[in-house]
Symmetry: C2
Subunit: 331 residues, 2 copies
């Protein structure tokens, strides 16, 4: 939140956006909003910072007409829950925008500020090669881009590049010249492989539970091999190159945030890890393997996590969060 505040104070020029003379509404969008409440904290923080900057820039001589917020997520997102939570305490005009953010969602040059938090490490699809037994990029025996096989990493990286470029192109059309975008997304420190980071070990452990299911004959080898996580943790260099190649935005700030050390009991950590894993991945597993297998897998996962937690918790490396502040170029 502080980094967003600073970014708005330092990099948002409300004068060049025309807010001194027009009483246009300041329009914000959150791409990948889920059902709240995190999205509300994020957009309310942005609004506070914009008001602050507005005061600093014009000293109340110009009116700030108000805000309109577009909450975007996929069509299957539970917008009913989002809207019910939203309306308990609303100080802005709001709208839900259903649809994939890997495509246009809003009219041209209508957004002043875009935000996307913890979404862009999700790919639009698993790269086809990694599920193809004929391909050198076949990811046999793993459910993720663990970084151990060059061809697999290359396929995942290419998919990430394609998705990210599509995202930047769509947002480039929607954001006005001089408008800002904050992207927060999962990544890896330079030179660290996914399989060396705690989170990669966590996914590998989940994968091992699916391998168990195949060995028990609960699922077939084919079912197992046709499943991979559509996730990619990029390096900052990779992201930087994609943004520069796209050309719509200038990079105003780029930081790697490391995770806080998690000071709580081992039991709580395991509980939260399982609950979090279920929240994020159970639907994905149910879609591929059915409800029963997903449930069994997570029961097994809970046991295995308990047995192996010290390895994951004590991993030498951790993933990072990329914090990226972009400004839309004026054409």
């Amino acid at each position: 939140m502080e980094m967003v505040d600073d970014g708005i104070m330092e990099k948002l020029d409300l004068k060049s956006l025309g807010f001194e003379s027009t009483n246009d509404t300041f329009r914000i969008a959150d791409f990948g909003c889920s059902v709240g409440p995190n999205t509300f904290f994020a957009v309310e923080n942005i609004m506070k910072a914009v008001e602050h900057k507005h005061h600093a820039q014009f000293n109340n001589s110009a009116p700030l007409s108000g805000f309109q917020v577009f909450f975007n997520d996929v069509t299957t997102n539970d917008f009913n829950t989002l809207f019910k939570a939203l309306h308990s305490n609303e100080k802005y005009f709001s709208a839900g925008v259903p649809g994939t953010f890997f495509g246009r969602l809003l009219p041209r040059s209508t957004l002043h500020f875009a935000h996307s938090s913890y979404c862009l490490h999700w790919l639009s699809k698993v790269p086809t090669e990694v599920l193809d037994s004929e391909s050198p990029a076949w990811n046999k025996g793993s459910i993720q881009c663990d970084g151990l096989k060059k061809e697999v990493t290359k396929a995942y990286s290419a998919q990430f590049q394609s998705d990210m470029s599509t995202f930047l192109e769509a947002r480039g059309q929607e954001i006005v010249g001089g408008g800002l975008m904050v992207i927060i997304t999962g990544g890896l420190p330079d030179g660290v492989l996914m399989s060396q980071a705690g989170i990669g070990m966590y996914y590998d452990l989940l994968g091992s539970c699916l391998i168990d299911m195949a060995e028990l004959g609960v699922i077939s080898e084919e079912q197992l091999d046709s499943f991979n996580l559509p996730l990619y943790y990029s390096s900052s260099k990779e992201i930087e190159e994609i943004i520069k190649a796209n050309g719509n935005f200038s990079i105003e700030r780029m930081d790697s945030l490391s995770h806080n050390i998690w000071k709580t009991s081992r039991e709580t950590k395991i509980k939260v890890s399982v609950t979090g894993g279920r929240a994020v991945f159970q639907g994905l597993l149910e879609d591929h393997f059915g409800r029963e297998v997903a449930e069994k897998t997570f029961e097994n996962f809970e046991t295995k996590l308990d047995e192996n937690f010290s390895i994951i918790d004590g991993a030498a490396h951790e993933h990072i969060d990329h914090f990226i502040l972009l400004k839309r170029n004026v054409n």
Copy 2:
């Protein structure tokens, strides 16, 4: 649809709205959209007519940049269902706007076309006087504004006037000068009382089923007396006066549409009447009387409708639909 087409062709001046020189997006909102598909037919018809008018006015010399549609309904509306239906075939940018239309929902001067169909005969609340045993407007023995008691009609009419004014004021702020609004809402022909129209008889019959419940002791007298339908069927004169008093809009067209004669079997008519009644009123009854009473009431209603259908079907009078085309005054 034809009347909307004609209204757009005759009354929408895209030149004065600036669409010759800007490539602004044409923004449409449907207030009270429900879950589809009617709202999709309505807005797609509007878009087709605007494109048609655009071609007629500029002969392709100016580009029409596209459309953004805001689908509005109350926060408890099932937007998930709306969004899933929407995305099967979308040619425009769309957004859901949750919240009551008796209040502001969109930024100032951002709408070019507003639409509201079969919603504004629903009041924001039952007028308090009609539920108050101390008031001369107490509506003892009836669940609707049947038109038989002057004080009751006055209370309902005042609530309608207040709600309609609030609606016109909010839309007046949201619609750009020169923008259009189509309102379609239930009404009564001049001089016809609700209790004389088929639909009023239908509501009276539903009311009689609730009176039966009270007589059987299933619900208390107090529960019965504290229930009225928040519905008001206005006369065209009444609506006209409210629009003129509000002053934001000029009336470009106002028509009374009578209902088509319904050529189908008696059985089908009864079935559709009960199904329709459940769809619209069961939730309202459940909220007030609980699920079980609502169910019993509708079972009784089905029987009574069968017994009394010839009276309702043969009513000398029918309600009408007001079709109103308004243009936002340029300030």
